[in-house]
Structures are given as C-alpha cells and as structure tokens.
Symmetry: C2
Subunit: 312 residues, 2 copies
C-alpha cells in the first residue's frame, strides 16, 4: 500500500504512520505542524519508505501534489481543540469540513479511491440509546466540533456515490497513550505538576468516561480497512467499557504517588459510551485496559515535559 | 421586523421579499445575481422599505456590512442546481455550507439571533418511513447537495447552542409557481417548446412526485417563524400529497393543448414524500393543489420566454 496520512505528526497520525511502516507500506505524511510535532516522527524519518511533506490542507494544490502516487488516504488531520469551538468557529469549519473537501478533490485528481476518516463519537450528541450503536440517528447538533465532523462524513459519503470511492469512518471515543498531548488527562496531569496538593476536576466525579489506547485504535483502523468491502464502512471505536471519573482520579494520583485535595467543579461533558460490537465482531479487541492506557499516558507526559511546555 | 434575505432575487427569495413588504416589514435583499434575476424584484424595488445589495456571500465583509441593523435573517441563497453536483462539487460546498457559515458569523457581528434556513427533503435520502416525519434519522448521504445542506443545518444548530441563536429549518419538497426557472417542470416545458411532438420523461411514469406552490411555501415560513419559540424549529414543508409522473404529463400537455409522443427514459430520482403534519398542526394548509401550481408555473413560463433563454 502507498498510504497518504494527513495529520501525520499528530497524536494518532504518528502512531498510524509507525504501524504502516512496520507492516512494510510506503507512507507519505502530510502535516502543517500547527499542532503536530516533528519529534513524533523521529522513528519514521529513519525509514526510507517514509517521507514527510510539510504543507497546509487548506492549500488544494499542495495536497494534490503531495498525494500523487498514493492509493489509500488516511485523513486524520482535524481541529483537535474541541473546547475552543465557540471562540474560533472558523477553525472547526476549516479544519474539519473544508480540508476534508480538499482531500476528496485531491483524491479525484490523484485517482485515489479509498479513504479512512477519523470522526467522533460526539456526532451522536447526547444519545437516547446507551451504549450507542453505529445505527443511532444523529441528533440536532449542539457542538461545532461534532457538526463539522458530521458534515465531513456526509461529504465523503456523497463522494462515494458520485465517484465510486470507498470510505471508512471511525467514530472515536477518547483515545490516549504515548504522544497524547491535549485533553482531559493532560489537563489533570498539568495541574498536578503545577500544584500537587490540589486538583480541580470537571463534573461531580460520577460521570463515566471511556478511553481507548492509541495502538489498539490504530490496529482497529487497519484491520477494518483490510477486511471491509462495503462502499461506506462505519465503526464506533472504543473499548465499549467505561470508568467513573472518580476512579480515574484514584488511578492518576495513585500512579503519581500524590494525595491532592480533589475539588469537583460541577460542570462536565455529556457521557458517551459507544457500542463497539461491530468492531469486535471482526476479531479485534483492545489489548490495554483504560487504566493501563492512563498509566502509559502519564509515563509519556512525565518523560516528555517539553510537550506540556509546547501546549502551554 | 427588519429582514435580511439572502438569495433575494431567486425564485423563493423574491416571493418572500414581496410577502414581507406586503406585511409592512423592512427588507434588505442580498444577492449576487448569479442565478437570480433583478426583474423578479421589480415590484419590491418600487417600495421604499426595500433595498437590494448586490454582493457575494463568499465575501464575509460584504455580508456583515449589508446585515447591519437587521433583526431576522432568511437564508435562502443556495446552489439550486442540484443535478450538477458531481461535476462542480465545489459549488455545493461553497454555496450551501461555507456561505451559511459566513451568514452565521455576520449574524454574530451584527447582533442578529434569528435565522430561517431553506433546507431540503433530500436530507432524508431514501427514507424507510414514508411519508417521512421530521424525526426520521438522516441516512448515509448519497448526494452532495443533500450532504452540504445537512452540513449547514448542523452548523446552524451548533450556533444555536454556542451563541443563543434561534433557528427555523424548512426541509422543502419541490416548490413551483411564478418565477420558477429550474427543475423538472421547466425541463419538460422547454422540450415541448423546442419539439412539441415529442417528450422525453425521466423514470417510468410511475414515480410519485410532490409539489408545493411557492406562495403557500412562503406563508408557511412566515407563520412558523411567528409562532414557534423553540431554539431549533424543524419543519417539513410540502403539501403532503403526491401525484404520479404520468398524471403530471397529462396535466402539462393538456394545459398546453399538445399531444406529444411520450417516451419514458428509465432513470428517475428517488421518491420522497414528506410528512407535513407538524406544519399543518399550526393551522397552515396550502391554498393551491399541485395541479393548480403546475398551471401557474406553465403560465409563467409561457409569459416569460426570457427566463428559459437566460437559463439556456
């Protein structure tokens, strides 16, 4: 396979690049390094089958040129800063919707027909059915992040019909592990670095939350892309299990050997638990538990202080 | 009300402008005249409460400036050329999705909080439930037109949550009447003008189709906007009744006094029949039947040959 990976220097993208190279594929990574890190690709750069193209997905000519010769696109680039949505709405539109359209058009020009797209479990909003299967209807959207991801899914699906593409949508739960830099767990870790004696936690501690280890995530993507032959293939991707936020806090503080005063601040995110039976039915199962994934994440953050500095 | 109408020189937009002026509102029409016609606004132009701003919705500064002072946006501008989707996919993305985002941002700048959006019944794809209610789930999209309209709905709904907007979505059936210039009926009419002895009709004649008269459509929009107070108000908008294509052909040829050889060409569009009970429950009902609407459309096309020339 000649893979083209957008967001290649990002958290999940860089793990996908590594795994594709491990399996003997050729990989072109495309990234503007706005939120990704060149250091995440140090291993890949040592491999002759990898090249990194530094470019912007908002520049159609650049994407098209870089994609020449590819036969499979893994479109992982996105605005990962879910929470800043309302302050910078243009970012969601551009980074989730418009760039996806540019990728689809570059594929037309380059003659590529297969695409993996990293969507999100938040397209289901606050679903009535929990765990939520892939067949659950989309709600009236309430977040720009989810709305622009759902928009991208719709455009890709329309291209499948119009141009004979084949698409794989992965609606992710929270993913973590090595190279995780943004989100709930790094926010908590950062607080404990700055003031180990106190920890402010969103919600009331009883919210449930679900985590998938990044290498398990990448394995699932590659398995589904290998096995599934429908024009549009949609998968929820998570462990299908959840933990309570208060347990998460115990795991984190326990692993770090800290005993902070924990203050629950009240407002929390809606709970999503994805029904991942479709993915498991293919024989995939996560190798690491949520707790093991958390430990890997903490070890990574502890060993790479530069990440939190870069995100400050 | 100080109304701001995008697509004001278009088919439905110009009728909406007329009706708003009739009711004593101030109206700013915004149109780039790419598919709309200045002639459709001749009546409105004679009214001191109307002004037309010729501008492009892809130019955020132009929309923002024109919107100053408005308190209600009617966003009707769109890529109405549903059928060219796959040949000019950028047009669907730009005209249905990106311009909607520009309108939403202009509203933020201008302090406008209420928006009517012209969506489409085709967001339901080929629905399992027929007639299809507003609560039917969206399918995996198959048309770029529907995908980009659904994307716009999602973005607007996200702005409702993020910024306290109030939104009205109207998922239209086929609309016709005076100033109708593009679609099934004008295609048939054009053929009969060019060669009255022969008529090629898509499908096999047994497809069913539903038509709403444009003034009934505009009345429904204004009624719902007046009465409904939810943050997001979604309405299917059609008569809720359908006719068979073969009946349509009899009505058209009968009205024109022609007896062409009719040839059914096989491929037709999927059938959509919207459940319009929600709209009717407000006391609205269409005044004209589909057949009466067809006659008005034919009379308009017959009296305005310039329209078909302009669309040639």
């Amino acid at each position: 396979m000649k893979a083209f990976v957008t967001g290649a220097a990002g958290f999940i993208g860089s793990h996908l690049v590594d795994r594709l190279l491990d399996r003997g594929h050729d990989v072109t990574g495309f990234d503007n390094l706005s939120t990704g890190f060149r250091r995440f690709l140090e291993g890949a750069q040592a491999n002759a089958r990898f090249r990194l193209v530094e470019g912007d997905l908002l520049d159609p000519a650049a994407v098209t040129a870089a994609m020449a010769g590819a036969d499979f696109v893994f479109h992982l680039a996105a605005n990962a800063e879910v929470r800043v949505g309302p302050d910078h709405p243009r970012r969601d539109l551009e980074q989730n919707t418009i760039v996806t359209w540019n990728v689809l058009e570059a594929m037309r020009a380059a003659g590529v027909r297969r695409i993996v797209f990293s969507s999100t479990g938040s397209v289901y909003g606050e679903p009535e059915v929990c765990p939520t299967p892939e067949t659950a209807p989309f709600p009236v959207q309430t977040s720009l992040y989810a709305a622009t991801k759902a928009a991208a899914e719709g455009m890709i699906a329309a291209y499948v019909t119009a141009f004979g593409y084949q698409a794989y949508f992965f609606r992710f739960d929270s993913v973590l592990g090595e190279r995780y830099t943004q989100g709930h767990v790094s926010d908590l870790y950062r607080q404990l670095v700055e003031h180990p004696e106190q920890l402010d936690v969103p919600g009331d501690g009883r919210q449930r939350i679900s985590y998938l280890y990044v290498r398990d995530c990448v394995d699932a993507i590659l398995l589904a892309a290998e096995r599934c032959t429908e024009p549009v293939n949609i998968f929820n991707l998570g462990t299908g299990e959840s933990c309570q936020v208060s347990d998460l806090i115990v795991w984190i503080t326990g692993h770090l050997g800290l005993a902070p005063v924990v203050r629950y601040t009240g407002v929390g995110s809606p709970f999503i638990l994805l029904d991942c039976a479709r993915m498991r039915a293919m024989g995939w199962k996560p190798e690491l538990s949520a707790r093991q994934g958390i430990v890997r994440t903490l070890e990574f953050l502890r060993g790479n202080a530069w990440v939190l500095e870069a995100r400050a």
